[in-house]
């Protein structure tokens, strides 16, 4: 379970007199339950990535708290990261290493021994249908192959909580479908807590049990797709999202 409690974060851009303060997150709050896929929905610049980076202990919140299975992500980053698998916005692999070596490296960083690392790699390769990729160098991988490797890498320590930042970016239909399938299986078979950020409505409609709508660094609405449609006053989810995200501030596009 991941709890984000009234988290705030601002950045200072530039230096001296030209410095400009950007309030990236100004009060995000949501709870992502176990056995449930939570969608973090927002337009570009709504603060999704910054929020997820705070969940992953990569940034320290200015205010508020992030709890991963009850562990404070700021005070005990190592313990919270051990219970977290993060597929971040940046999905760089090591091009001179094979997919297997990339995955085993992360397993070893999570403290798995060689045998456990090898075994987990096999299990994930089977689950993600990437056995043929394992011993190839990642140098010439396609976007879909990269995503699979990165996903296997972040799941290698079998974390109870999974965070994915815009995972379908740059993926074709087939790869998107296979990712969706994999996430459903993780939820249904293993009861994982999955948080999934995106700006694509269909993704959320197809996959998410619970949706958190973010706009201008704030959580503006939360609930199931049906509940949000009702609140937004439209049967079309996209229209409902627009009125929830922008309508409240009067900034209609």
């Amino acid at each position: 379970m991941i709890e984000v409690i009234d988290v705030e974060r601002r950045f200072v851009q530039g230096r001296g007199r030209r410095a400009r303060v950007v309030q990236a997150v100004a009060g995000a709050r949501f709870v992502a339950a176990d056995g449930c896929i939570t969608g973090l929905l927002g337009s570009n610049g709504a603060g999704k990535t910054t929020t997820l980076r705070m969940v992953a202990s990569l940034l320290t919140p200015d205010a508020g708290r992030v709890l991963v299975d009850g562990i404070d992500a700021t005070r005990q980053p190592a313990a919270s990261l051990a219970r977290l698998g993060v597929l971040s916005d940046a999905r760089g692999l090591y091009p001179r290493l094979s997919a297997r070596e990339n995955i085993v490296y992360y397993a070893r960083l999570h403290g798995l021994d060689d045998r456990a690392a090898a075994q987990r790699t096999e299990v994930l390769a089977e689950a993600l249908d990437m056995r043929a990729l394992l011993d190839r160098r990642t140098e010439g991988f396609s976007q879909g192959e990269r995503m699979k490797t990165a996903l296997a890498r972040c799941l290698v320590h079998d974390p109870p909580n999974i965070v994915l930042d815009e995972p379908t970016n740059g993926l074709d239909v087939k790869a998107t479908r296979s990712l969706r399938e994999a996430l459903r299986r993780l939820r249904d078979e293993q009861g994982k807590c999955i948080v999934f950020s995106t700006h694509v409505m269909q993704e959320v409609e197809r996959l998410c049990d619970h949706v958190v709508v973010m706009a201008q660094g704030r959580t503006v609405a939360a609930g199931s797709v049906a509940a949000l449609c009702e609140r937004g006053g439209s049967s079309d989810f996209e229209q409902a999202f627009v009125s929830l995200a922008f309508g409240a501030d009067g900034a209609h596009p």
Binding site: L81, V86, A90, G92, L93, Y94, R108, R153
Partner: protein, 387 residues
């Protein structure tokens, strides 16, 4: 600590997989030293050979038997000049000046008229020019001998013409000039270490940022000091490997020395190799740290390369201090990393002694520099990952 070991193993594997870069570095750094040594020995051997040869190129020697007699008494071998010597002297293809004697040489001498003897050289041809002085003084010797004979015939003491006795003595060994160039050897191994560490250092920092693999890496439960320590150890290991290889490459390189006097002056045995390595290993560590600290600020490897130029430039310019500084070795030289190693390696080559302090002070400074760099990288790492 276990985390640092995991990072070290992966980074080392990654660096060693970069075969093409590694091969270029190995070839240029490890082969460069012996190659320079061989070229140097060729140069010195050439100088020695010409000094020993005592050959004079003359055109028209058949017209001057008395000159030939004089030259042969000075143990010079007289050889006829090649046909197109003027052209070849101009084109720097002939490395000795040519003496040209006219057909009327002996008859003019007999008639007490001074015949013209020309010495041809070209100031654009340094090799021939360097032999010019030798030829001129040789011919002046002939002039003087003939003049003395004439005076003696007329009953005048030759001592009248010689107010003081002049004699030239060259103290320099022919190989001494060339041997000064062995001072370049420490410079080459120093640059080898720097270039050995450069690519790995840039790849584990700026390269990691450029690929977008730093952010996911930091989401692993490993402390930042352990991560930086592992990365630094891998980079330093590559730098140290190059250092050891390039030092050892001078051992067989020495067998290729053609000049005996150079071989005597450039004595590089196992002891010297061991001392070189002892001096270079800490430096490899310090430079690895420094390069990583410079590169972690950069978003791409390209940007990092531009910034690392400052370090490369500093390390390659520092040794010049020892050349420009006429006072020789100053105490502060040992306080500057790279310059200290240069100075001490030079001392090792000259067969000088190294005290415990000479080894300990640079070692300590290198450790401090490496530690400071790593602390900086660890502090900067997280901040930079999200930019």
């Amino acid at each position: 600590m276990k985390g640092a070991w995991v990072v070290f193993r992966k980074e080392l594997l990654d660096a060693l997989r970069d075969r093409r870069t590694l091969l270029v570095v190995l070839l240029s750094s490890v082969a460069m030293g012996p190659l320079v040594l061989v070229l140097l020995s060729g140069l010195v051997a050439g100088v020695e050979r010409r000094a020993d040869a005592r050959v004079l190129l003359v055109q028209g020697i058949e017209h001057a038997p008395s000159l030939r007699n004089y030259l042969e008494r000075q143990t010079y071998a007289v050889k006829p000049a090649p046909a197109d010597f003027e052209h070849r002297l101009e084109a720097s293809q002939l490395s000795d000046p040519v003496v040209v004697i006219g057909p009327d040489f002996e008859t003019e001498i007999a008639a007490a008229r001074a015949p013209l003897v020309e010495v041809l050289s070209s100031s654009a041809n340094p090799a021939a020019q360097s032999g010019l002085g030798r030829v001129m003084s040789l011919l002046r010797g002939y002039n003087q001998e003939q003049a003395m004979l004439r005076l003696v015939v007329r009953g005048v003491s030759p001592a009248l013409l010689e107010v003081v006795q002049l004699q030239e003595r060259d103290l320099a060994e022919p190989a001494a000039r060339g041997a000064q160039l062995t001072a370049l050897v420490p410079f080459f191994v120093l640059m080898a270490v720097l270039y050995g560490a450069l690519n790995a250092a840039l790849d584990t920092t700026a390269g990691e940022r450029e690929r977008g693999s730093l952010e996911p890496l930091l989401m692993n439960p490993i402390s930042r000091p352990a991560l930086v320590l592992g990365k630094w150890a891998a980079v330093a290991a590559v730098g140290m490997l190059i250092a050891v290889l390039s030092c050892l490459s001078f051992l067989p390189g020495q067998w290729l020395l053609r000049s005996e006097s150079l071989a005597a002056m450039f004595s590089f045995g196992p002891r010297e190799a061991a001392l070189f390595i002892a001096l270079l290993l800490p430096l490899a560590g310090a430079l690895s740290g420094l390069l990583m600290a410079v590169a972690i600020r950069c978003r791409s490897v390209k940007e990092a390369q531009a910034n690392a130029t400052v370090v490369v430039l500093a390390v390659s310019l520092l040794p010049l201090v020892t050349i420009f500084n006429q006072d020789g070795e100053a105490a502060w030289h040992l306080w500057v990393p790279a310059l200290a190693q240069m100075t001490l390696m030079g001392r090792v080559l000259k067969g000088g002694a190294l005290g415990a302090l000479d080894l300990a002070l640079p070692l300590l400074l290198c450790l401090l520099l490496a530690a400071a760099s790593m602390a900086y990288v660890a502090r900067t790492l997280r901040h930079r990952a999200t930019q």
